[in-house]
């Protein structure tokens, strides 16, 4: 007998989690299946809505202002600016650790590569790092951590014209962590305020770290660290360091594995638990029954194919990175329902000659009707009860626009809500 629900969400990224939450809030019985345990480890944890137009103009001060002028097939145009605002309000409600909701304006946040990028919401932990804040800053790098070279980031930020003086120094992290220690190792040590040996003395790591930084501190009112300051309770760690250093403490997000991304995932899963969504992670959807309407899907678990049936389905399996869109030498396809994905026949037309050029592949994905239901090459709805959300959608380049999180949240919200309303 199939596992049944009103709405089945396929995919455990930002879009899937948001749509499950939106559907549950409408009163539907929701089940979420995800192929992977974790997808947000690749994400910086900054929640962008729109930083640049589709033509590359920007950085945009007000993302909402620019949405009506986006191309007609852009997912933001499909759901409309009002829905984007509602979706962001839901996000704000369930992520108390996030900031930025007090204004429509984007914030510019330093990146670990030394640029600044426009974003709409940011973890409280990076709040004191915003680049429009004129307070001088000291950046701290850790000698064995190659992802964040503080002197280089500081010099690059200066070249980017930030309105404050910024200086970077590299310290040795107290204790005897291996040169290749994982980010989570540092976070765990700080979470537990574990004991480290410094000059033959046993000391709690937060105090020992603060001492190392204090030796380099020259009165800057704020001090930035790579995003390693704890997984469970980063606010407490920042407060402890801030007190000892008499300066505000902030983090700079980094690439994978990203602690701010993992923290965001944790808070969204907690919100889903609270809303009563049933979650099965680690099991891919490998097939379905139905024609014009999906009757049930098959979820692979320990080699067996378990049927899951629902009245409505949300496809939130991700884009090329998450394999919600896949390809071979001849074609680009959507592997779960084989929804139509428009692409040039010749794979040499899928990309631009320049590394950061205008890439077709960055816009690969399914196209939909106004209700986010995927359509085929003739604009006919493929399945009456399937809606798509997040980067499985085509028609926008989330990387260039800095719109990935916002599109996932807005379309996830719209798809989940609509699915729940249509469910019996």
């Amino acid at each position: 007998m199939a596992i049944e629900s009103d709405v089945l969400v396929i995919g455990g990224g930002l879009a899937g989690l948001t749509s499950a939450l939106a559907a549950a809030r409408e009163g539907a019985a929701v089940r979420l299946v995800a192929a992977k345990q974790s997808t947000l480890r690749n994400a910086s944890g900054l929640v962008d809505v729109l930083g640049y137009t589709a033509d590359g103009e920007g950085p945009l001060v007000d993302p909402y202002d620019a949405i009506p002028d986006l191309p007609a097939d852009h997912p933001y145009r499909t759901v409309g600016v009002g829905t984007v605002r509602e979706a962001m309000a839901l996000f704000d409600e369930v992520t108390p650790r996030y900031r930025g909701g007090h204004t429509d304006a984007n914030a510019l946040l330093p990146t670990h590569g030394g640029t600044v990028k426009p974003t709409a919401r940011y973890p409280a932990g990076v709040s004191d790092g915003v680049a429009s804040d004129s307070r001088d800053a000291l950046l701290i790098g850790v000698e064995s951590m190659t992802d964040f070279d503080a002197p280089h980031v500081a010099a690059h930020l200066t070249a980017a014209g930030v309105p404050f003086d910024v200086r970077g120094v590299t310290i040795q992290f107290p204790g005897d962590l291996r040169a290749d220690a994982a980010i989570t190792r540092y976070a765990k040590l700080l979470d537990t305020d574990g004991t480290v040996e410094v000059d033959g003395r046993e000391r709690p790591v937060r105090a020992a770290l603060a001492d190392r930084v204090a030796a380099e501190h020259d009165g800057e009112p704020r001090i930035g660290f790579p995003a390693i300051l704890g997984d469970d309770d980063p606010a407490e760690i920042r407060a402890a360091l801030a007190e000892r250093l008499d300066a505000a403490v902030f983090e700079i997000p980094m690439g994978p594995p990203s602690l701010p991304g993992l923290r965001l995932e944790d808070s969204l899963f907690a919100a889903l638990d609270e809303a009563g969504v049933s979650i099965a992670a680690g099991n891919p959807v490998v097939g379905y029954d139905g024609d014009g309407r999906v009757e049930q899907v098959y979820v692979e678990k320990n080699g067996a194919h378990i049927p899951n049936s629902a009245d409505q389905y949300v496809l939130a399996t991700g884009g090329l990175v998450g394999k919600g869109i896949d390809s071979d030498r001849e074609r680009v396809y959507e592997p779960v329902f084989d929804c139509h994905v428009a692409h040039a026949d010749d794979r040499y037309d899928w990309f631009d000659r320049e590394a950061f050029g205008n890439h077709d592949f960055a816009r690969f994905g399914v196209h939909t009707d106004d209700d986010l239901r995927p359509v085929d090459g003739d604009d006919s709805v493929e399945f009456d009860n399937v809606r798509a959300a997040g980067s499985v959608l085509g028609g926008y380049d989330f990387a260039a626009e800095k719109s990935g999180s916002g599109v996932s949240i807005a379309t996830g919200y719209a798809a989940g809500r609509s699915a729940a309303r249509r469910a019996r």
């Binding site: 900031r99 640029t115 709040s127 004191d128 429009s132 190659t146 030498r329 590394a355």
Partner: protein, 565 residues
């Protein structure tokens, strides 16, 4: 005592670097000039096969005999550049039995040791060979790292007093009274180490003799002195797989054809190749069918290649040459032998010698021939010693020591570092500070990166070639910004930004030929990391000033937003 002659060698590939080493070891004063970084031309764009000679044992036994002899020399003098993989010539049912026998006879005639393996025995060596292969001939093929080999030759030349100038383009040859007397050089960044953004300049380098070792570019240099050199550049594609599907060089046992070789190389396997004549060694089409042909044809030998992950493809141009009288139509008919052109005899132009044709495996022999010729001209009587004296890094390198504990490196990182560095490992890896891994795919540590930066200036592509950093599965997605950070220790931010951009650009170029399946997914991830997380496509340091005041200035540390944290 008469001062030694000064020879300018043009070309920083294997031949040019080999000549610079040979001549400088004989006491000749040498300046080597190269338009890009070392191995910029054909040397850096080959499949890395150390020939046993087996591939030429039927068609060209002179080349075959030279190959096996030089193969033995390189195993000895360049042990840290060579992996003794062994090779197989594999026969499928549709391949000719007569050719198989001719191959065996040819190897015997060329002194190439062989062994015939049954299909079962061959699959015991390489389990992924197709189930229907018939048999194979085993030969002493190997893999050679051309970057490491050329860098070691250049380092040896420098140790013997040579001057090595990379990123220095020859713009003209000086000819006076029917004799070449020097070269005009355009330095991209002033003499010495290449540093991005440094003011360049032109220099006239006077010489007693000029050697043109520019391979496919030889005609262009010849034209500067008014002599015709009819190089017939021929392109070939190489397709790089993300892992080693085979640990032995796999050749198809049939007469020459496209897509007939797989070379295991470090962490990858390289599929080759095509053979198509082109007009210009820098501008030629890189075609989609060539990549498809590699995969589809070689999958007949190793079926798993059909669905395996390709990480990039690149093309090289062979500097083929034949005397104009031969006039072959098909580039595959042109000999792989080398030619020394004595322009004094050939064109009544003194002071210039050109070397064309040949192969990487015989680079040392070609260098010896050129050096003998130049030395004879100037009455230098010193003997060639390049076959006897090990290259830097390969001295006393008989046993790999266990460096892991000694340098605090984890296996297999320690093993890989020591393999790359050879006997230089002690010098390079001994640091008092932490030595984290910068490139995870290729297991390259900070100490190695810093050593390479010390050798090559601000050119991160040169650092890449020396260390293999950014050349693995992720193609630099995770480490380009780390390499930039490492460079910042010695160079200013603006220099670093330009070098970083150059590296990103170079990495993208070859990946474009592998953009489907896993590697398209990887490319999208890399694009997202560089463009979303780092915002490198809209770097405000490169663009218009940003009006910071118009954006959200944040919430006060303890107020503004009242929700808990």
């Amino acid at each position: 005592m008469v001062s030694p002659p000064h020879v300018v060698v043009i070309g920083g590939g294997s031949t040019g670097a080999g000549i610079a080493r040979d001549l400088s070891m004989r006491g000749v004063e040498v300046t080597l000039v190269e338009q890009g970084n070392l191995t910029h031309g054909t040397t850096g764009r080959m499949h890395g096969l150390l020939h046993s000679g087996g591939r030429y044992a039927v068609s060209d036994q002179v080349s075959a005999a030279e190959c096996i002899e030089e193969n033995r020399v390189l195993r000895d003098i360049a042990s840290h550049c060579v992996e003794t993989t062994g090779g197989l010539f594999v026969k499928r049912p549709e391949d000719s039995e007569a050719y198989f026998q001719t191959k065996l006879d040819g190897c015997a005639a060329s002194d190439i040791p062989t062994e015939v393996l049954s299909a079962e025995e061959a699959r015991a060596v390489e389990p992924h060979l197709a189930p229907d292969i018939e048999k194979a001939i085993s030969v002493p093929d190997g893999a050679v790292d051309p970057f490491r080999l050329v860098v070691a030759n250049a380092a040896s030349a420098r140790d013997h007093g040579a001057r090595i100038e990379t990123h220095s383009t020859v713009t003209d040859l000086r000819v006076e009274d029917g004799e070449v007397v020097g070269v005009e050089v355009d330095h991209a960044s002033g003499p010495g180490k290449h540093v991005h953004g440094t003011e360049g300049g032109t220099e006239v380098i006077r010489a007693d003799h000029v050697v043109n070792a520019t391979g496919a570019w030889a005609g262009r240099i010849g034209a500067m002195a008014g002599v015709d050199i009819e190089v017939r550049p021929s392109k070939g594609v190489m397709t790089v797989m993300n892992t080693r599907q085979v640990d032995t060089v796999i050749n198809r046992c049939r007469p020459k054809g496209d897509a007939d070789i797989i070379v295991p190389h470090e962490t990858a396997a390289i599929l080759g190749t095509t053979d198509e004549e082109v007009d210009d060694p820098e501008e030629y089409p890189e075609e989609h069918w060539e990549v498809d042909a590699m995969i589809d044809t070689l999958a007949e030998l190793v079926p798993m290649l059909r669905d395996a992950r390709t990480i990039r493809s690149f093309w090289g141009v062979r500097p083929l040459y034949e005397p104009p009288s031969v006039d072959s139509d098909d580039p595959t008919d042109i000999t792989r032998d080398y030619f020394l052109l004595d322009h004094a005899e050939r064109d009544a132009l003194d002071g210039l010698t050109t070397i064309v044709g040949g192969k990487l495996t015989t680079y040392r022999l070609m260098a010896e021939a050129v050096s003998d010729h130049v030395c004879e001209r100037f009455g230098v009587s010193a003997d060639c010693r390049t076959a006897d004296v090990s290259l830097p890094g390969s001295e006393a390198f008989s046993v790999l020591r266990d460096y892991m504990d000694e340098f605090g490196l984890r296996s297999p990182i320690g093993r890989r570092s020591v393999e790359r560095l050879g006997s230089r490992a002690d010098d390079v890896l001994e640091t008092s500070s932490p030595n984290p891994t910068v490139c995870n795919c290729e297991a390259v540590t900070r100490a190695e990166i810093q050593d390479a930066i010390g050798q090559s200036g601000s050119d991160l592509n040169a650092v890449r070639l020396r260390t293999r950093a950014s050349m693995g599965s992720c193609q630099g997605g995770f480490c380009c910004h780390r390499l930039a950070g490492e460079l910042h220790d010695d160079h200013g931010e603006a220099v670093v930004r330009e070098a970083w951009d150059d590296l990103l650009r170079e990495r993208w170029t070859g990946q474009r030929h592998a953009l489907w399946g896993e590697q398209l997914s990887q490319a999208m991830l890399n694009y997202a990391l560089h463009v979303t997380t780092q915002n490198r496509d809209n770097d405000p340091a490169d663009g218009d000033p940003v009006d910071f005041g118009a954006f959200d200035a944040g919430v006060a540390a303890d107020g503004g937003d009242q929700r808990g944290d």
